[in-house]
């Protein structure tokens, strides 16, 4: 166990070095979350002034965009760590080191968590300054919302890594775009009840949908809907397991086909 943690720590050191040799990357971590938050924050200010306050109560849009960024950044943070190894043609070296695939996943998850906290945390701080947004208004649900979103992000991120391992950097665009396919279904900015009937069951099969529904309940009704959180957690179990299975399965295929040494630009 101690050796495993040491190897996970070694990989986190590797990703930390990337920020030390290219400090501009730290700016990139907070740039897009901040940019998104500002656009939606100003939009919210406008809507608050133009419509009935009950519709756009409190910091509804800012909370939505920040939580969406938790989901997106957790997926992107994990996938980018993997893509970084592909760019550097380092997967072969890692595969013949004592680093186990599960430890590699552990390192990607830990690095993604740090990236997400820095990126969204920075944007959240600025949201407080600009729009008076108070994340603590989400109450005890905040940590649970966060946890559910990062787990789903990691599950999707692992599936993207599995595809990258299979198809190489030709599939690189998925790293940035995969989650946006799901965004209209997650009900980030609107309740899923407005979706067409046939789409609603698909939307409700996504853990993030229940988180965003739960967020709206907290903001609009001032209560935490435990049922929604429980559904998100229950759905996240198969998502996380499917992501892990996809990654490990793809890794096994890559070993059989000799893809680990040949990945790169």
């Amino acid at each position: 166990m101690r050796a495993s943690l040491g190897r996970i720590g070694a990989m986190m050191t590797r990703y930390t070095y990337l920020y030390l040799v290219s400090p501009i990357r730290i700016l990139e971590l907070v740039y897009w979350p901040t940019f998104n938050m500002l656009i939606w924050g100003f939009m919210q200010d406008y809507l608050n002034s133009a419509t009935h306050p009950a519709v756009f109560a409190a910091s509804y849009l800012v909370a939505a965009v920040l939580l969406w960024d938790v989901l997106f950044r957790s997926q992107l943070g994990l996938t980018l760590g993997f893509v970084e190894e592909m760019w550097a043609r380092n997967l072969g070296h890692l595969a013949v080191s004592p680093l186990r695939p599960l430890e590699f996943v552990g390192a990607l998850i830990a690095t993604s968590l740090v990236r997400t906290l820095v990126g969204v945390g920075g944007a959240g701080f600025l949201a407080t300054l600009f729009f008076g947004f108070n994340a603590l208004e989400l109450g005890a649900g905040l940590a649970l919302f966060f946890l559910n979103l990062v787990i789903m992000g990691w599950g999707v991120g692992l599936v993207v890594c599995a595809v990258l391992l299979r198809y190489g950097l030709a599939a690189e665009a998925l790293a940035w775009g995969a989650l946006f396919v799901l965004q209209p279904l997650c009900g980030v900015f609107y309740p899923v009840s407005i979706l067409p009937d046939w789409l609603e069951p698909i939307a409700r099969a996504l853990p993030a949908t229940h988180v965003f529904e739960g967020m709206r309940t907290v903001i609009q009704e001032g209560r935490l809907d435990v049922d929604l959180l429980a559904q998100a957690f229950l759905l996240n179990i198969p998502y996380a397991l499917a992501g892990l299975a996809a990654f490990l399965g793809s890794y096994a295929v890559a070993r059989r086909r000799g893809l680990l040494m040949s990945t790169g630009e």
Binding site: A3, G6, R7, G9, A10, M11, T13, R14, Y17, L18, V21, S22, A88, R89, N90, G92, H93, L94, A95, V96, S97, P98, L99, R100, A252, R255, R256, R257, G258, L260, M261
Partner: protein, 255 residues
């Protein structure tokens, strides 16, 4: 040779890609503390064989064992005690040599990584390269840093793919001497793939000739030279390769 005496064993190893046989039922054993050379032209199956021995590539048939561990079921215990370098697979370019060696030192669980890196840097004469990004090094410098990575965990088995391919003649001679000295001091086993016959003749205790994925012949360089009545290993290789190509079906099974 018994399994206990062999550091590396290939038993009936085979690999196909897209229906094309690239390694065909190869069997050999490398005694501990010796240097073994896999010889062959480009595409002969040398690198594929090494990758299967490392567990990086799964054989279609057969078995690879390193330090007694089955590389399909128990490879990480062997990988902890082995290491690999190839001039064709450099370390991450953005990181400096020191940063790369630190990461890999920690992956291998080296206890005092900083001191180990400084020791290796002195041994390999790469002190002046330590704080330079790998991407700004020449091919030869990258190779030397790659050898530094190989030595981090004081491996019992070193897998080296074309270890001197990008080095100047003086650097190559120096590295050959260094690897020989390392093996003698530590009792390590060296498996190298090369098509540089004089180098293999100078470094290896035993060699295996590969052509189109098949193992044509193996033995000590001296024995092979005597057996074929030649003066150099290169002449033996050319004769063996010609004879194999002349046999019915000799050029049709691999690539």
């Amino acid at each position: 040779m018994t399994s206990a005496a062999a550091a590396v064993e290939a038993r009936d190893l085979s690999k196909e890609f897209d229906g094309r046989t690239v390694v065909d039922r190869i069997t050999f054993a490398v005694p501990r503390g010796t240097t073994f050379g896999l010889l062959g032209a480009n595409g002969a199956g040398k690198t594929t064989t090494i990758l299967m021995l490392l567990g990086l590539l799964r054989p279609d048939r057969g078995e690879a064992r390193v330090l007694g561990h089955d590389m399909e079921r128990d490879r990480f215990r062997a990988l902890q005690r082995a290491n690999f370098s190839s001039p064709y697979v450099s370390l991450p370019n953005r990181l400096t040599a020191r940063q790369n060696l630190t990461v890999y030192g920690r992956l291998y669980g080296v206890s005092d990584v900083r001191r180990r890196i400084e020791y290796i840097a002195r041994e390999l004469r790469i002190e002046d390269l330590l704080d330079r990004p790998v991407g700004k090094m020449s091919a030869g410098q990258k190779t030397r840093v790659g050898i530094g990575k190989v030595l981090l965990n004081q491996p019992e088995v070193l897998f080296l793919d074309e270890p001197t391919a990008s080095l100047s003649p003086e650097s190559a001679a120096w590295l050959r001497a260094f690897l020989g000295s390392y093996r003698d001091r530590t009792g390590a086993t060296v498996v190298l793939a090369s098509h540089n016959m004089p180098e293999v003749e100078a470094m290896c205790d035993s060699v295996a000739f590969l052509q189109q994925g098949r193992l044509l012949e193996q033995g000590t360089p001296g024995d092979l030279i005597r057996r074929h009545g030649m003066r150099t290993l290169e002449q033996v290789f050319l004769e063996v390769a010609d004879a194999a190509a002349d046999r019915p079906g000799g050029s049709g099974s691999g690539g």
